[in-house]
């Protein structure tokens, strides 16, 4: 695996085909068809998450919860360890006649640090899985793609998909009901 923050795009004459669809329903149906046809290197783009699109695209469940769980448990364990170390090893002081390792009093900080690590894991894990930040991407060169954050519903099929063919894939997107289709240059 190369550096995670750089786009992993093979050089080629074009990045792929981009089709714009009228709405969430059209996008969903197009994605179902494209998955059934066996495409693998493709994506859908929408201004908001479209309900049911993960299933239509055949995406596997996100691995993010495992990252969060691991980090949250490590954070909590680390916090308990820190408090144990402070109060029994480094600064063993008897305060209000409590035992040195008075663990019930250590629960709040343990919990808070567990939440902190879990939240950091959720945010940075999500950005990592999504390979963001990635400020440059061939799709941004498209003239219509800026609508993907406004009211545009797009399907992009990448040119290194084994089933990609300039004419056939462009025609396929049109047949699926794309309002406009373009070939995005590689950049």
């Amino acid at each position: 695996m190369s550096a995670p923050l750089l786009p992993q795009l093979p050089a080629g004459p074009c990045y792929g085909a981009l089709g714009r669809f009228a709405g969430p329903r059209e996008l969903l149906h197009a994605c179902e068809r494209i998955r059934e046809l066996g495409f693998t290197r493709w994506d859908a783009h929408s201004p908001f998450p479209v309900h049911g699109l993960d299933g239509a695209m055949g995406l596997r469940a996100s691995r993010l919860p495992w990252i969060v769980l691991t980090l949250a448990l490590s954070g909590a364990a680390g916090a308990m360890l820190l408090q144990w170390w402070v109060h029994t090893q480094a600064y063993p002081l008897v305060i209000s006649g409590k035992p040195l390792f008075s663990w019930p009093a250590f629960v709040p900080v343990t919990f808070e640090v567990g939440v902190l690590f879990g939240a950091l894991g959720a945010v940075f894990g999500m950005f990592g899985l999504n390979r963001l930040p990635m400020h440059h991407h061939p799709l941004f060169e498209s003239s219509t793609f800026e609508r993907a954050t406004d009211d545009g519903f797009f399907v992009s099929i990448e040119s290194w998909d084994p089933k990609f063919d300039r004419e056939a894939t462009t025609r396929l997107l049109r047949d699926l009901g794309a309002l406009d289709v373009e070939l995005v240059p590689s950049s």
Partner: protein, 478 residues
């Protein structure tokens, strides 16, 4: 029948009243939220920003003199070692809680109306936590050793005591602030990309482009994004409940009558949400009007918030009553005295301001006419925040000023410097909020678009209506 505010057309997918009025579609929502950011600064904005900035300068004055001279400039005396500083701290942390309730708890409860107000409520949370963190920071007097609150290695053979709720508080509030910022930023990324894609100047494109991280609405990204958002909501929910519980333990774990009670954690959490929603209403009434967002932030949103204020206000009222009951029922003379002293002692004026503002006046919210009248709601939101500030003042000062030893009893009077610091914290809060509404999308457009009927992939399909009267009836056979 034409759709109006009273009788809107039903959402064709869900069969319920729509959340967004005015016939909005996807691009019109983008425009409604982004246009105000792209226009030249309206003169009305300065009308709010400059007074806020002036108030903020008071904070600089109050803290500057404090750092120079020490906390002797405050009116603190021997039994009353905590007063405005900790009152303000608890007040501001509490304000923040409504933002997290809206963004996390209502998300988990699938309250889809939250989408119109969650962005600004989360921003409010962050600014309130900033205000809150000032006061424990400055009340130590020697601000330059504030880092002693953290468990850092040092040459002094000294480490904070992890058995103390005051240290739990350091962790709880700073982590709460951090998680609130993360949650807010994750929610902002798709909208920052929207602003980036609309940008007409290179500077805007650069700034928002950098902040949007190259977001391109990919569904492979949305999948992880939605999962991250759900997990953050799931983490923020117990976090927000724990934060004010821990704040309440600053008091409840001590031995002082009036503080040492187990009702404190839930009572503080309810009070926090009560005052926080009041602050959301205060801000939203103005913002909605100023940005003409009547169709995105509707009367229904305000009514829902008023209902939450009514519920949490009733919980707070119950806690006031229950404190008195337990003071009597426990048979503990010190506890009994502390509460009689609260209601009829030297600080009775503060106690009755609190009861009037938090328990008596909010009863008006039982009426739908009051809940849907913005003028009444606005006044009520101010009243509730005055009441909730006094609640913390009453709890802190009345319990301290007459402790176990009558010879050390005293009466606390704040000085001008405490008032200036309080006003200055409002200055910080409103300055930050003014900057937020000027430079960032104040409504989560991606989320609002997702609650439009047209966002459902089944919108426009033939609806299967189950009509029992037309179903074939099988004759009973014997």
């Amino acid at each position: 029948m034409a759709p109006t505010e009273e009788t809107p057309d039903l959402d064709p997918v869900r069969g319920r009243a729509p959340l967004i009025l005015g016939g909005h579609d996807f691009p019109s929502i983008t425009r409604a939220v982004c246009d105000p950011l792209e226009r030249p600064t309206p003169s009305g904005w300065w009308l709010f920003f400059l007074p806020s900035l002036a108030l903020l300068s008071l904070l600089g004055l109050a803290t500057g003199w404090l750092f120079w001279e020490g906390i002797g400039i405050w009116g603190l005396n021997n039994p009353v070692g905590w007063a405005f500083d900790i009152t303000n701290f608890v007040f501001w942390v509490g304000i923040g809680h409504a933002g997290t309730l809206i963004s996390a708890i209502l998300f988990l409860l699938r309250q889809r109306w939250r989408t119109s107000i969650n962005r600004s409520a989360e921003a409010m949370t962050i600014f309130a936590v900033m205000c809150a963190l000032i006061f424990p920071g400055i009340h130590v007097g020697r601000i330059w050793v504030a880092y002693w609150m953290l468990p850092l290695p040092n040459q002094m053979s000294m480490c904070p005591n992890f058995r103390s709720p005051l240290l739990w508080d350091v962790f709880a509030v700073s982590i709460y602030g951090t998680v609130s910022v993360l949650f807010w930023y994750v929610g902002l990324v798709p909208d920052l990309a929207t602003v980036r894609d609309r940008a007409r100047t290179l500077l805007r494109r650069r700034i928002f482009g950098a902040l949007a991280l190259g977001w391109r609405g990919s569904n492979r990204h949305w999948q992880h994004y939605e999962r991250a958002y759900l997990i953050l909501a799931g983490l923020a929910t117990p976090l927000v409940l724990s934060v004010h519980s821990i704040v309440s333990m600053d008091f409840a774990v001590s031995q002082l009558p009036g503080w040492h009670t187990t009702i404190f954690p839930p009572y503080f959490v309810a009070g926090a949400i009560f005052s926080g929603f009041a602050m959301v209403v205060t801000l939203m009434v103005i913002t909605r009007k100023a940005f003409r967002m009547e169709n995105l932030i509707t009367i229904r949103h305000f009514e829902n918030m008023a209902k939450i204020m009514l519920v949490t206000g009733t919980m707070v009222g119950y806690a006031y009553g229950m404190e008195f009951f337990i003071a009597w029922y426990s048979g503990n003379p010190y506890e009994g005295f502390a509460f009689l002293n609260r209601a009829f002692g030297p600080y009775a004026w503060a106690y009755w301001i609190m009861v009037s503002c938090n328990v008596i006046l909010p009863q008006i919210l039982w009426w739908k006419k009051a809940r849907t009248n913005l003028a009444i709601l606005f006044v009520m939101s101010l009243v509730v925040n005055v009441g909730m500030w006094f609640e913390r003042f009453v709890i802190i000062v009345t319990s301290l000023h007459r402790d176990f030893l009558p010879s050390s009893w005293d009466y606390y009077v704040p000085t001008i410097w405490e008032f200036l610091a309080l006003l200055g914290s409002f200055g910080l809060f409103f300055t930050m909020f003014c900057l937020f509404v000027r430079f960032l999308p104040i409504v989560a457009t991606a989320e609002v678009k997702a609650v439009l009927p047209a966002a459902d992939p089944h919108h426009g399909e033939e609806r299967v209506v189950l009509d029992v009267s037309k179903a074939p009836v099988r004759e009973a056979t014997t």
